[in-house]
Amino acid sequence: VAVEVGIVAAKALFIVLLVVQVMGLGVFFERKVSALIQNRIGANRASILGFAGLGLVNTLVADPIKFLLKEDVVPAGTDRLFHFLAPLLSLIPVLVTFAVVPFGDVLEIGGRVINLQAAELNVGLLYILAMASLGVYGVVLAGWASNNRWSLLGGIRGTAQMISYEIALGLGLIGTIIVYNSLDLQDMARAQGQLLWGWLPAWGILYQPLGFLIFLVAGVAESKRIPFDLPESESELVAGYFTEYSGSKHLMFMMSDFVEVVLIAVLVTTLFFGAWQVPYLARDGFHFPWGSGLALPSLVVALLQVTAFAVKLVFFTWLQIVVRWTLPRFRYDQLMRLGWQGLLPLALVNVVVTAFVVLVLERA
């Protein structure tokens, strides 16, 4: 029993560390890719004890230290309890979603076959949606508890936006659920290991291109980032719902933003881009469509899969940050129109068409 518990703990620790690493890379992209896009150099001057030789790396080390050491200001007239709880309610629900994310197929070690997924849940995808939907309380309570008009406006905007786009987000995923006939992310990942016509990896994007677009747009909107960052739009609301937060609490809000970006990248990778699948790599090694193959031990296969998963994850994190620095912010009416009149009907059409095609194919 102790070994089993240890294995689960190790898997959970691994996925959390993976997410935190990708999040760190996200901050790196945020600094350097934005600088590249805006034709400037970007942060390179942080000096730690007089040493600034590593440029941006110094900044990445100095930033969290700075955040943690700053004074934690709680303004007068705030609701103390909820002012304290809001950052936690924003970060924790997003972090726990990763429990059901598979980061590899199986690892055979000492006669044990370990499924590389921390928690096997029959309702995995719904669990992620349920936990992610609780993140909205962080936003709404931060806005309300701060006793500040800007915060309140930001909180109300954030709530309306997150609820609106959650519907498109969920409906956009129903097509994928119909195709894979499962809610467990590991089942979905394994289903994507098949080959179409003997050579094309059957990744979700081939079955659900429209579902992918809807999910990506709604996902970026859920993470409240440019072009959907109206809850914090700094030119109008200072910093929106987290105006009155400083130090490590402010850091938690920023972290939850980045973790949400990673979560969207994880879901896009897992549902539409083959999860941990490497093309033509099966449990016992490569099987190329032209007939040759390469046998590999289980450990190497697992390592390749985890690496593939991480690389895809980093790519989609990068993509979202490029989007952020490319597009201007929507107006609020445009935002609502896109959600309700654009994405929602498209998602409904996607559900009906997918269901119809699957039905016809099953009958045929």
Binding site: N122, V123, L129, A130, S133, L134, V140, W144, M162, G170
Partner: protein, 163 residues
């Protein structure tokens, strides 16, 4: 479910539910409601009803109560002052609670207190629940969806009239 876990959860749930009713600040009440609903979903997990638990969190904790909070903030409801809880309300509430308690006790007395029989494999999982929902309970299921549709159309009609 482990009896110890059950008792701890049950006490917490009742406390949260009492907070919903007794707290004077509407925002605190709404948040206590979220806690209550979340704890209830843990009970569903304990009853092998994972799907119901997930839906409970998505629909009630994640959406319905958020709308409550949204309305509270838009209307800028303040902490209630003075003695709003008038006697007739207390009397009706007490009578209702007693009636419910009597009903529950009556119902539970008839329940057989034997060893719980094991549930069939796959019970409460998505496939099993969907199987029942789309065969035996298809008509009530579809009727419910029509009811919801009527409610949505009604809400839109009312909103249009106001604007």
């Amino acid at each position: 479910m482990n009896p110890f876990v059950f008792i701890v959860l049950a006490v917490l749930t009742v406390l949260a539910a009492l907070t919903v009713v007794l707290h004077r600040n509407p925002v605190h009440s709404a948040c206590a409601l979220v806690v209550t609903l979340f704890l209830l979903s843990i009970f569903f997990v304990g009853l092998d009803a994972q799907l119901v638990a997930a839906l409970q969190v998505i629909v009630y904790a994640g959406a319905v109560v958020v709308l409550f909070l949204f309305v509270i903030m838009l209307l800028n409801l303040q902490v209630e002052e003075g003695n709003v809880s008038a006697r007739p309300l207390i009397a009706t509430g007490a009578a209702g609670s007693i009636a419910l308690a009597v009903l529950l006790v009556a119902a539970l007395r008839r329940a057989t207190s034997g060893k719980a029989t094991g549930v069939p494999a796959g019970f409460g999982e998505t496939a099993a629940l969907a199987e029942r929902l789309f065969t035996a309970y298809l008509v009530p299921f579809e009727l419910t969806s029509i009811l919801l549709l009527v409610a949505i159309v009604g809400a839109v009609a009312l909103a249009k009239k106001g604007g």
